[in-house]
């Protein structure tokens, strides 16, 4: 699970939606799978779903590529058998890069009047 620090985060872009969603849902905290599902639903107001099959397959792959890492459950956890994950430094870099990419796209969309907003 070493993070390949020499790599450029932009190599991984664009991220697949589930990967990006997991990175967003995790933010700075450490969450277990079900909590990620809930956090994502809250964030999107239920507009999009992160289904368990996709979630756990994505988490496994992200752990493999070092975007997230497993951490010991917090002492107060209700179910110590669950796996908790948090975003690695590398994962954070990738999330930032993807967000930048998206922002650039959104700017373009605004310039084309596809979205209301300041940029012009």
């Amino acid at each position: 699970m070493s993070e390949p620090s020499h790599a450029d985060p932009r190599d991984l872009l664009p991220l697949s939606p589930p990967v990006y969603h997991v990175l967003l849902a995790l933010g700075d905290g450490a969450l277990h799978g079900y909590a990620i599902m809930q956090a994502f639903e809250e964030m999107t107001g239920g507009a999009a779903l992160l289904l368990p099959g996709t979630l756990y397959a994505t988490l496994a792959r992200m752990a493999e590529t070092g975007l997230v890492e497993e951490v010991p459950p917090p002492p107060a956890s209700e179910d110590a058998r669950r796996r908790f994950y948090r975003v690695t430094v590398w994962g954070r870099e990738v999330a930032v890069a993807e967000s930048e990419r998206m922002r650039a796209l959104v700017e373009v969309a605004r310039a084309r009047h596809l979205l209301p907003g300041r940029a012009r």
Binding site: L51, P52, T54, A57, A60, R61, E70, R81, R82
Partner: protein, 940 residues
């Protein structure tokens, strides 16, 4: 890093399981099944947690938004899990030559890969559920029928014998030649002749073992039970690769008839059911035919001998003690079979030649003692012996019928797809316009057909599972053994859906997709882009001229033709069945019970069986509800004893062995009355007969006619080939009775002769009881027998109604399936015609409206619509008629007093189909006549 996971889950979840309502339980199950697609290591790491997350979410949604919402979620989440699991699995094991795949599919949706086509196909089917359901149903019937019949084909014909090196197993036969009669037939072996064969040095068939079947009475350790026993020579279990799971097989020194080895190997079934699978039974004694026999081994589970149904094996050398000494001593007592394996490096032809060369030596060592009779020897392969002609004919006929069902299903579906593609020509044109290649369109259409076919195949497996179960229950007993009944060929349990049947169904599904999908696929690519975009209708019409309408209407013809073939076949077999059921059996079959018992030589009644039988019959006669009781060979199951008439006193001399055959029956007093056989002349047999030295005989009508012609047979004397100790050779004819069918009704009837059972003391008895409720008499019968000797079992109990039904059993099964297949095809033809005409009417609304507006009458319009369909149906009838005419040969084995080309069957079947198709076409066509001209012009 990986933690132990507990798939069972913590107790809390289990509690929730138990409270879950059925729908929720279904949702949980669905997900668990989908999760199986994940590779095992992945499941070990994440499975429990994934499932827990899913379950919590299901409950949350159920509580918040209701069951329906949670079910929608369940389906989505399960589909997602299946998809992800599949990807994960491919990732875990990348195919050779391929590196790791990119995380996402890669190619975009417009260029699109195969997966995109499948998605498109599924979406298309979901958008028209009625079409999808109809298509899947039609295919399920077609594929299910074929898979069912295939399971029978495999079990009855294709499956190899379940023994090691089965292709090198051979049966050795004796061949009896009767020079006087010019007769040659395959014979069984006698024990002395087998010994001669086994004594030959350097045999080319080695090892070789003898086997023969008998029933024996097992007493002790429970109620007396009649069991099938195989008498075998040492080496039997080794040859068949079925070494006992407990104890041992027979040793070479247990072949010594001089010191009969009273040992036995029991079947696993008997050991389990009667002795509670007690391992200590090996080494203990059981009582067989009144003799203590030491159990030395237990056969493997499921093995029931070469003849099937065997519960115990004893060394053949013990037959002289356990059964009858003649079985061992008499060189002319032919009762056993010889099976062996070709010696290493020896071919069949070589071994067969060796065997034939051996024949004369065996015959010389044991001369027949009958003038003109010699025995030779030869080999048959096990595969050759295993063929059951009846089963083979039935399975081939049903395979052909099932194939026709599938063809009709495909034609039907092809029609549906073509009709549907009318609406999609425009869709295809759009895709051509945005740059899709024609090949892509053909492929998309092909993928849709394949998707439909596979869905149909999956549903067809359900049909097949049900069909195989039904067939297994109804499979005629006559079809289980080889032609001579001495070799079990298959067990009904072999009729089942397993991997082979699933693979077969998969292949059939693919074939079906090709059959019904080709025309629509060609059609999909044939559209003219500009024209279609401008006016869907015009393009449709142009395309129609190419393949569409002509092809579509032709499909009506195809379906009608195939349906006619099946309808004619069913009509012919059905007529045969009716004729068979109308055949007069010659006795009153209703209210008869038959069963058997046998007195071991060592039993109380063994010394004087006639006295025992008389005492028993007396007790049964006294039972309340019994109207009559007798002993005698039960009808319709085949003869018990056939011999020949050797001499008619006062008539011209009959050369030895050339007299007419005569079925021999040893019957009780009042036999004809009890059986309901009419007495035509003279008197019946009664208590007077069989008590003095001169035997009396009653002849059947046919026997009297063959032997005496117009003359009165009463008081005449005949000599038959039955040796009765202490009796005169000639028997006096005292009566003539009606003919009775002893063999199944489709076999030729032979003359019969009846003696009193007192003439020929026999320790075994076939008893027939007449009572209003025959089966209800069985307990009383058992008690009556037990009162005389409590070690005797009653066996083979059945009602005569059951025997009558079984005598037509093979036709019954064939007819039932054929009728079912026919019904399906006729229905399919009707719906197919209906659909095609309905589409055609909808297609031509505008034109028809115009015609009506211009003053054409309703009838005339109707005629326009139906004309083409009628022509196609007519052509179909003609072609179907020809095919049925040519294919009649397949039916011949199942016909009885009906010609395979009976014009009446053709006429009736044609009329039925014509009526059905006319009705199916008329309903939608009527709509054509009622088209409102104004509305029709406004449409489109």
């Amino acid at each position: 890093m990986s933690r132990p996971s507990s798939p069972g889950g913590p107790g809390g979840r289990r509690e929730r399981h138990s409270r879950a309502r059925p729908l929720t339980a279904l949702a949980l199950r669905l997900f668990r099944v989908a999760m199986r697609l994940f590779p095992r290591p992945f499941r070990a790491t994440h499975g429990a947690e994934m499932r827990a997350a899913y379950e919590r979410e299901i409950e949350r949604r159920a509580a918040r938004a209701g069951t329906r919402a949670s079910l929608v979620y369940a389906v989505r989440a399960s589909a997602d899990a299946a998809r992800q699991g599949w990807r994960e699995r491919r990732r875990a094991a990348p195919p050779p030559g391929h590196g790791a795949r990119t995380p996402r599919g890669g190619r975009g949706p417009i260029g699109g890969g195969f997966a995109a086509d499948v998605r498109l196909a599924v979406r298309g089917l979901r958008r028209s559920p009625a079409f999808a359901v109809a298509g899947v149903l039609v295919l399920a019937l077609g594929i299910g029928a074929n898979a069912t019949v295939f399971s029978a084909l495999r079990a009855a014909i294709l499956a190899p014998a379940p023994y090691p090196e089965a292709d090198r197993l051979v049966l050795a036969d004796l061949r009896m030649t009767h020079a006087g009669r010019g007769e040659e037939r395959i014979s069984t072996w006698s024990y002395p002749k087998l010994q001669t064969l086994l004594g030959v040095e350097r045999r080319l068939v080695d090892p070789a073992v003898g086997y023969g079947g008998r029933t024996a009475t097992l007493t002790g350790g429970g109620a007396p039970r009649r069991v099938d026993v195989e008498l075998v020579t040492p080496g039997y279990f080794e040859l068949l690769g079925r070494s006992p799971v407990l104890g041992r097989a027979f040793t070479p020194d247990e072949a010594d008839a001089g010191d009969p080895p009273l040992v036995a190997v029991l079947s696993h079934e008997l050991w389990s059911s009667r002795y509670g699978a007690d391992p200590a039974l090996v080494g203990r004694d059981v009582v067989l035919n009144g003799r203590a026999v030491r159990v030395v081994g237990i056969a493997p589970a499921g093995f029931d001998g070469l003849r099937g149904g065997t519960r115990a094996w004893v060394p053949m050398a013990a037959a002289g003690v356990l059964m009858n000494r003649f079985m061992i001593e008499a060189a002319q007592a032919h009762w056993l079979h010889v099976i062996g394996r070709l010696a290493p490096g020896v071919g069949f032809a070589e071994a067969d030649a060796w065997m034939e060369a051996l024949g004369p030596g065996i015959d010389e060592a044991h001369p027949a003692g009958e003038a003109g009779v010699t025995y030779g020897a030869s080999l048959r392969t096990l595969d050759e012996v295993r063929v059951n002609a009846g089963a083979r004919a039935a399975v081939l006929l049903l395979s052909a019928a099932a194939g026709l069902v599938l063809l009709v299903a495909c034609a039907n579906l092809s029609g549906l797809l073509l009709a549907r593609s009318r609406a999609r020509v425009r869709d295809g044109a759009v895709r051509l316009a945005v740059g899709a290649s024609r090949w892509r369109l053909v492929r998309a259409s092909a993928v849709e057909s394949l998707t439909l076919a596979l869905l149909g195949g999956a549903a067809g497996m359900g049909v097949a599972a049900w069909g195989a179960r039904a067939m297994s229950a109804a499979w005629p007993r006559r079809f289980l053994g080889s032609g001579d009944g001495e070799l079990r060929v298959m067990s009904p349990e072999a009729l089942a859906v397993d991997r082979g049947v699933v693979l077969f169904a998969l292949a059939v599904s693919t074939l079906a997709a090709l059959l019904f999908g080709t025309a629509p696929a060609l059609r999909a690519s044939g559209a003219q882009v500009a024209a279609a975009l401008k006016d869907g209708g015009a393009a449709t019409r142009r395309a129609r001229r190419l393949v569409g309408l002509d092809g579509r209407t032709a499909l009506v013809g195809v379906q009608v033709a195939l349906a006619l073939v099946l309808l004619v076949g069913t009509g012919l077999v059905g007529t045969s069945m009716m004729r068979l059921l109308r055949v007069d059996e010659g006795f009153d079959a209703r209210g008869l019970l038959t069963f058997s018992y046998a007195l071991p030589a060592s039993s109380t009644g063994g010394d004087d069986p006639v006295a025992f039988h008389e005492a028993f019959l007396e007790r049964v006669r006294a039972l309340p509800g019994v109207e009559g009781v007798t002993v005698g060979c039960p009808p319709l199951r085949g003869h018990c004893w056939i011999t020949r008439v050797d001499e008619v006193r006062g008539a011209r001399e009959i050369p030895p062995g050339e007299g007419p055959p005569l079925g021999i029956h040893m019957v009780g007093d009042g036999h004809f009355e009890t059986m309901g056989i009419p007495l035509l002349r003279g008197r019946a047999l009664d208590a007077r007969d069989g008590r003095d030295a001169r035997p009396t005989i009653v002849l059947s009508r046919l026997a009297a006619e063959r032997l005496f012609g117009e003359e009165d047979p009463i008081g005449r004397f005949i000599r038959v080939g039955v040796g009765m100790e202490g009796k005169e050779a000639f028997s006096e004819v005292v009566g003539v009775v009606g003919d009775v069918l002893y063999a199944p009704p489709d076999e030729e009837m032979i003359p019969e002769g009846y003696f009193s059972f007192r003439e020929y003391p026999d320790r075994s008895a076939d008893v027939i009881v007449r009572a209003a409720d025959p089966m209800a008499q069985l307990p009383g019968v058992r008690a009556a027998l037990g009162a005389l000797d409590r070690t005797l079992p009653v066996f083979g109990a059945s009602t005569m109604d059951e025997i009558v039904a079984a005598s037509t059993g093979d036709r019954r099964v064939v007819l039932a399936l054929l009728a079912l297949f026919t019904l399906v095809t006729v229905l399919l033809s009707a719906t197919g015609t209906w659909g095609i005409v309905a589409y055609s009417v909808a297609d031509r609304r505008r034109e028809l409206g115009l015609r009506i507006a211009l003053g054409a009458g309703g009838l005339r319009v109707l005629g326009t619509v139906v004309a083409q369909t009628a022509a196609a149906a007519g052509l179909g009838l003609a072609l179907g008629g020809l095919a049925a005419w040519g294919g009649g040969r397949l039916l011949e084995a199942f016909l009885y007093e009906v010609d395979a080309r009976d014009p009446r069957a053709f006429a009736v079947a044609g009329a039925i189909l014509l009526a059905v198709v006319a009705l199916a076409a008329a309903l939608p066509a009527r709509r054509a006549a009622r088209v409102d001209p104004v509305e029709a012009l406004r449409a489109d």
